[in-house]
Symmetry: C2
């Protein structure tokens, strides 16, 4: 016996999502059938809308429904700083804290020899164009993740950009706020000691 | 800063699914944007199709795109037995093992005083109609879950149906195959001893 074909198709669709196996997909499919008609219609239309209306900003690579995106066109932002992140989601994480008010640039990945991702696969060329076209920028903050790939990408960017006389900085490494020294790994502890500050 | 509106709407839609919070919904939304156009379109249409084309079988309460469902109309099945389950999913679990070939009846829940679910909220009236209209049935197998609510519902059904001279049976309780006695709970062990069989 099989489920009716519409359910099978819905289960298959849910299974295409990351981290969702057959059991969860089946649970979600049955949940969907019990949902409000309106909610399901809204879900279906938001899927299509997200796919058709969104694209990457031609300036910074952030996801947007306009081009350039709302950050790039916001003249109230500090035009002298560009913060470089790996993923679109990182823009949100950083902007949410309301401490940084400059511009962004999304690389869409990091250099990773193991996965065959080189600088040419990343959104780096457009960053260099931005810096060439715009004399206002005096600092590039590289906020790639604190992984070997993130570090390597940061170093690569620094080598490209520094000769142009632009300051290149990196987010601070150290103990996470609220964390225990007991549970910190050796690398983090080392960075925390290296980067110690006067109190 | 907010995500562009199409993403926000998609995140909201994903968050309506059970067990999916904001972080997972965001991850799924970004994954959706990177999916194939065709896959997203198929996902959207399968959502709508599942909601509009499916309904419960008027005879047994199983989910179906026909009415009556393919099980109820399958004359090769044993018409003398009806197996009663709580949920549509249980029909699939039992039918998959290919050991039971009779009919089904889905209650869509169990009696639960705590949640205010009484017999009148369950698909019980239609079961009684089936038994009245159809003299062929000689056994009702109650396969509600082995929970207090499942047991209570089974007992209630037995009291309703037995007076009509129809056999009412319950799935066996005992140790799960492959399980350790050491880890079995006291109730299960008790049931396993009570229901011991000759070898």
């Amino acid at each position: 016996m099989q489920y009716p074909e519409p359910i099978e198709r819905l289960i298959d669709s849910y299974m295409k999502l990351p981290g969702i196996g057959e059991k969860t997909a089946t649970r979600l499919a049955f949940f969907t059938i019990d949902m409000d008609q309106d909610d399901v219609a809204a879900f279906a239309s938001s899927l299509t809308a997200a796919k058709t209306q969104l694209h990457y900003c031609s300036v910074c690579g952030n996801i947007t429904d306009d081009d350039p995106c709302s950050i790039c066109t916001d003249t109230s932002r500090d035009q002298t700083k560009i913060l470089v992140v790996e993923q679109v989601k990182d823009v949100m994480s950083i902007d949410r804290m309301d401490e940084y008010h400059g511009l962004y640039h999304v690389l869409h990945g990091v250099m990773s020899p193991l996965e065959g991702t080189g600088p040419e696969d990343l959104n780096i060329a457009s960053l260099l164009h931005r810096l060439q076209d715009n004399d206002a920028v005096n600092e590039v903050i590289v906020a790639t993740n604190a992984t070997p790939e993130g570090e390597a990408t940061a170093m690569y960017l620094a080598r490209l950009i520094k000769p142009a006389g632009i300051r290149v900085t990196r987010l601070a490494h150290g103990l996470a706020v609220g964390s225990d020294i007991e549970y910190a790994d050796q690398m983090t502890l080392m960075k925390a000691v290296e980067g110690r500050t006067e109190i």
